[in-house]
């Protein structure tokens, strides 16, 4: 990845002083200065990948190459301070191939999905896969492996390991601390990890859905300094006032929240982030560039939006070598004709043209995932009998807890239902509910958790190992036979997602790397995913964000009732609750 170093600086100083010709001069551009909020005509002289000087349009400057910007805006390369590359279901090279042409040149990614499967080997995999790309991939050290004590992940990153990773140059922060119960309790693995990070002076990323008042104060006092979860205007204001960097992602970009945040974000405390972007959304809408466009369309001043997507995230992450176009900063530059309809028309990574007109102009290094990363589903396909839920005692019916899905949110609501019992087994197939089962698949605990879901499929079954954050095997369906069939497909593929009706696989996505990521280009994964989305629709699952809704059904830090391999989790209470109430 590109960083400033003494050799680059030396060359830049010489060029600034006029002692050597620039490698490249970008002329006839309108410079968007994220430091001052100004826009003015300029020339940018580049040496050794660094901005050596910003000159007036009339200044003469000797250069090996001159590029005429055609009067377009030049803005800093976009910086995404909170995302999980794994959410795009591809490896960093394939990810770079799509985001670099969109103007994203720096990401600070939390690899906690793959780390939850493979531990430090997963973090290493992401670091190695990122080498030599025209995209600077910095990493956050996952704090949440596992995310909570209420699930079984594939690995555990102990405080000492987290500390050792944080000492590495490309590791810029502690990844989102999601278990706020553990933070506030100040005991156990998460609290120790947090202390280790703070001792090292690391930036600590947060995840504080809905947290407010004294709980928020306690969370912040504990050392967490950002939040990227959904916020209302009120929650946004409270976060900014508390010294929390507000990281707005798509779902928080309402005109009201933007208005509230923009008024108060006068301390580089507002960032735009992507968090999780699906491969098909990535292909069709874009990445941080899309968030930027939406933010502007919904009322954020274009220059403020750019600052929130460049300087503010760079500063938060201690990357003083980027985020603005100024002497001694990396020449990560994007040319665009419009700040409102931001499209990256030419992209320079450390002064090198790497993309134009939406296409890469440079080859990417070849990289293949190690064999061990392709063998992470360590259970046999669960048979139909695995989807029987025993009922205790001799009652003819039981009251069960139900996860109520919300068609417009990935949060769920808690509910109940009355189900019949025959021969000691709950008769759920004849109800309008789905059964959900989570099988620990890392070869560690062998545990299975069961729950009932309302508002998911009307028929058939789905199975997925892309199930936050432990990525165990989640199976949801209307019949044991179809659930077993869907699960079999996923297990045999080494990971992925499958939607089944009767004996037929209607749609499926192969994700063989750690069971959550493909080793193919985004376009291929997106095509499979599109087919899978249609299959979900065919099975009667209507949701604004169906993949994510299923994928976080297992996330025990996202409200309100979730399911892990250990059982049903009451997220607010932070504990496992029984499936059968009476």
């Amino acid at each position: 990845m590109a960083r400033l170093d003494p050799a680059r600086r030396r060359k830049a100083v010489d060029v600034a002083r006029g002692r050597a010709p620039a490698d490249l001069v970008l002329t006839n551009v309108r410079l968007v200065n994220t430091l001052t909020g100004e826009i003015y005509p300029a020339q940018v002289a580049i040496a050794a990948g660094v901005v050596a000087a910003v000159l007036r349009p009339c200044d003469g400057v000797p250069a090996a190459e001159v590029v005429d910007g055609g009067g377009r805006y030049v803005v800093p390369g976009l910086v995404d301070s909170h995302l999980h590359i794994e959410s795009t279901m591809v490896l960093p090279p394939a990810f770079a191939a799509v985001v670099v042409p969109r103007g994203v040149l720096t990401v600070i990614a939390d690899p906690h999905e793959i780390a939850n499967v493979m531990g430090t080997a997963g973090v290493e995999l992401m670091a190695e896969a990122s080498r030599g790309l025209p995209l600077d991939v910095f990493l956050q050290v996952p704090s949440c492996v596992p995310a909570t004590t209420l699930e079984t992940a594939g690995a555990e990153l102990e405080p000492g390991l987290v500390g050792a990773l944080l000492a590495r140059e490309e590791m810029l922060a502690l990844g989102e601390v999601m278990d706020f119960h553990a933070v506030l309790a100040q005991e156990g693995r998460v609290a120790e990890v947090l202390r280790e990070a703070l001792r090292r002076g690391a930036v600590v990323e947060g995840h504080a859905p809905g947290l407010s008042g004294r709980d928020l104060a306690a969370y912040v006092a504990a050392g967490v300094t950002s939040d990227h979860t959904f916020v209302t205007p009120e929650l946004a204001v409270e976060r900014l006032r508390s010294g929390v960097t507000l990281q707005l992602q798509m779902k928080s970009l309402t005109p009201e929240t933007i208005r509230a945040a923009a008024q108060l974000a006068r301390s580089l405390n507002l960032c735009l982030v992507t968090d999780d972007v699906m491969p098909d959304d990535l292909m069709t809408r874009g990445h941080l560039d899309h968030v930027l466009r939406v933010a502007v369309a919904r009322g954020l001043d274009p220059v403020e939006a750019l600052r929130a997507a460049t300087l503010a995230p760079a500063r938060r992450m201690g990357l003083e070598d980027r985020g603005a176009i100024a002497p001694g900063r990396l020449a990560h530059l994007v040319l665009t004709s419009s700040l409102e309809e931001f499209r990256a028309e030419a992209v320079f990574h450390a002064g090198r043209l790497v993309a134009a007109a939406g296409e890469l102009t440079v080859p990417l290094p070849a990289w293949s995932p190690p064999a061990a990363s392709l063998q992470t589903v360590r259970i046999p396909p669960p048979p139909p009998e695995a989807f029987r839920v025993p009922a205790p005692g001799s009652a003819a019916a039981v009251t069960v807890r139900v996860i109520e899905m919300q068609p417009q949110s990935t949060y769920t609501a808690p509910g109940t239902a009355r189900l019949g019992v025959r021969s000691g087994v709950v008769e759920w197939e004849s109800s309008d509910l789905c059964l959900a089962a989570v099988f620990e698949r890392h070869g560690r605990a062998g545990t299975v958790g069961y729950g009932f879901v309302r508002g998911a499929l009307r028929q058939g079954a789905v199975a997925t190992t892309w199930a936050h954050d432990s990525h165990n095997l989640l199976v949801v369906g209307r019949s044991a036979a179809e659930m077993a069939a869907a699960a079999r497909w996923v297990v045999e593929a080494g990971g992925g997602m499958a939607a089944v009706r009767g004996g037929e696989v209607l749609g499926a996505v192969r994700l063989p790397v750690a069971g959550i990521v493909s080793d193919r280009p985004v376009s291929e994964v997106a095509a499979e995913l599109a087919q899978y989305r249609r299959a979900l629709e065919a099975l009667g699952f209507v949701h604004d964000s169906p993949i994510m809704a299923l994928g976080v059904l297992t996330l025990p830090v996202s409200p309100a009732l979730k399911l892990t391999d250990r059982g049903l989790v009451d997220v607010q209470a932070g504990r496992i609750v029984p499936l059968i109430i009476e």
Copy 2:
């Protein structure tokens, strides 16, 4: 000094959650939020010296102690990111006794004056003298020991030593890099020191008087990121655009510069700093609180001014634990009735009341300087013969270079004069010029530099070891006899300043610690200094800032013609030039 630590955090979290009573609750205050720019009624709950939570006025909160703010504003303790404590001519405890009651609770001081005399022992002295104070004294590691190769300082801080010091927790930055020629040349001690600091990721303080255009770009590209020297509106704009943190001190606080800077300083890139404050100014006007008042009086929005004196400098120096009143930040708080006429009416350091109504309310630890620091003038008093300037050849007159003092600036202008020669000696005593002589006094080189000065004394002589930055013995006068007398007083005092007319010492300041600092309270030094000022006036020296004008006559990085123990320095050219032209 107060820092956040796990124990403080733990207590703050418990109090925020309501699991333990607060140590102190500040009620009935209007909180000035430097993060958002807002002012609103609040209560501040404090635990273990940390803000645990900011609560609404109506919230109930159990506390060991309640302080009613009487509806006053509560603002963060002031943070001064660029100053030299030695300029106040007192040691840190005496300095704290004056600035803490004025609301200054954090300083990041560059001890380069004392380091130029004593080397690392001087840095250690400042660190040790600062322990246990209700003022957090962080240090910058002086980059300029010596400031240039054009003078002889008492020590040299080599790159390795600078690196070792930067590794220490209380050392937050590389002190101002003053020799821009050395920076741009990219070779020699200064360039190596800079590289060492950048390698360690240290913040690098600048000193770039008048630097502009490509030279400024080169200086910034080399890694320097602030400037506190005098700026015009144009220079201010250029610095902000270039990613330089603008540190405005008194002399830059014109309404025009404030207006220009305020429009563009949207990235925490504007700080208010004191740099050098004389002891009498410190007593009568104040410190950073005075700069704050002047900035507001001249047009800076009061909340922006506060941000520039709290959050912005704290952020620049990586002190995320202060600069705002928010959970998990140190309870460094100041109560004041007016933001326009800012006066610190009550001052809390880490939650403890340390000053009220302009007076300390806590005792300061006793501290005495080590014996070695009191024996740093290592030359005998120069005799009258030392003030003879030989003329080469046999001409009856010579043309000499003249340092033209400017009555309203510490910058000088270059000039010339024609002086007679008798018996091979320049006849300056009968002219209207002063002779200036700089004697290396550290017992190292034994060198003497001579120059002529116009616009200084009309009669008598002055001598001083308070002569930036090498603090050699500067003697300026109208006769050799009076110069010898003034010099004798200073040498025998172990350092200080003396003004002599005929055989009489009209005024003098004893500065026995390193020859530049007193071990007495500010009030006593200020009284001596006032008498010395009157003596300068009596000798016909009329200047807006007479002490500083003399003290930087020896500073070879401040325009335009200066004098060191090596000779006359053409600052622009960065080299020694001959005294006698022809």
